[in-house]
Amino acid sequence: MPVIRLTERRFVLLLLAPAGCFLAVFVAYPLLLLLRNSFYEVSLYALNDGVFVGWDNFVKALGSSRVRESAARTLNYTVIALSAEFVLGFGAALLFNALGKRSELLRTIFAFPLMIPPIVAGLLWRFMLIDNIGIVNHILETLGIIGDASDISWLGDRDLVLFSVALPNIWLTTSFVALVLYTGLQNVPAELIEAAKIDGAGNWQRFRRVTVPLLRPVIAVVLILRGIDAARAFDMIWIQTEGGPRFASEILSIHIYRAMIRYGNVGEASAIATLFMLGMVLASALAFAVIWGRGTSQS
């Protein structure tokens, strides 16, 4: 008996070993390097050297208003992108569900943006949003929604730009949210809906009392996955605005890239990146606990 158990454990370890080694070398070790750099003053030009500065980089990062503003913008950007994706995606999923099989072609077209590289999406939206050449303002002008093509400065207005740079993200990933939720809806047993109908529940009540609770795990996973991706966004925003105007679209990943690669302040940037990651872990854990926890306690 012990021999067999040992074999099984060994077998599992053996299966895990290649991927484990890979992740150790190319994921864990880089993270350790990042952590190490956080405590050093390191220049981009001498990465292997550096002066130990203790917690200085963290103190500087936490004290910097630029970092705090970037963190707030990261949160805003994530909330904007996530809520739009979720509302639109859920709406689309319900529509598809209502249509049933007939929605197949539409779903296929809807899945389209999923295949488009973020860099292309960012460029495309930048092209469409530039106030004078852009097609978006032109259409809005033609429809009479705005008086002149220069009335909305999507990428130049500091109050608007964070929303504008979220557009390609929303465009690219609403379909993901919609398709996942659609699959979830398909898995809701018809008997439960029927039972609720017999109990005299209206459409809205059936949706709230039956569909949503059953979908809760799916919703949790979608929100967390998409939230993480939105918070880490880089290339789409970089290609659109590089964080401008006047840092109004600079989220943390852009700030870190700028500090690390452009200015060469690897130490400080590493400290910010470390804090960023800690924040992500905490936020995900919290989201997980709230969404999932409530679901299980109710049922």
Binding site: P30, L31, V120, G184
Partner: protein
Amino acid sequence: MRSPLASRALLMLLVALIVLVYGFPYAFLVSTSLKSPQAALAIPPTLLPQQLSIENYANIGEHPSVQRSFGNSIIIALLSTVITIALAVPAAYAVARYATWAGKTFLFVVLITRLIPPVAVGIPLFVIMRALGLIDTHLGVALAHSTISVPLGIWLLASFMEGIPRELEEAARVDGCSRFGALLRIIIPVASGGIAVTAIFVFLASWNEFLFSLLLSSTGVKTAPIAIAEFKTQYGIQWGTMTSLAVLFSLPVIIFSLLMQKRIIAGLTVGAVKG
């Protein structure tokens, strides 16, 4: 109450509207690429080309490094796919089948890697690749891409493998198959659909990746997204050429995806719904 037919039609209309809004940007991209570089920038812009022009596509011919970049992208994406599948299949099997402490920890670690912003590990990866002599090699970039796709692959494959009835391998074991034999002869063939879907996703992840490719390639192995971004020059953006490149870059993937559409949607949803 409205007739079911009318509400159906309304629904259909609503969905068609959403699809139109969603499809529009890409249609406009294609349309712009078929205008002359001059007409692409007309004020006010036009929806459709007033005169079809393939000048933007012809311009690509003047940039041999751009053509090479497509080859690089393919090689790197294939390499990354092979690496990822080779590493992720056994790991996913272990996680899905044997609920050991190691397996659970492993899955947790895999989840955590999703939280890492690429920009944070870009420079450390550069240092490691340099130490390994892998800067500006297909393998170096592919390995960097695999840091994203190995966790993704394990996650997806584990979901697929959980769906395979345990009885299958138990039967094989009774028939005298070793553990490895069961994995090779039973699980992998049965899970081949899931493996194919995973491979597609891994390929796409590499095909689209930007930051690592930018940091880790220079002379030889520049990928297509970088080549596209290169048309953003110091003095402005060459929209015409850029749109044609973007079309060429995304079209094969889109066509392929449409062919594989059912499988891909299955893959998209399996991780999330089962997770």
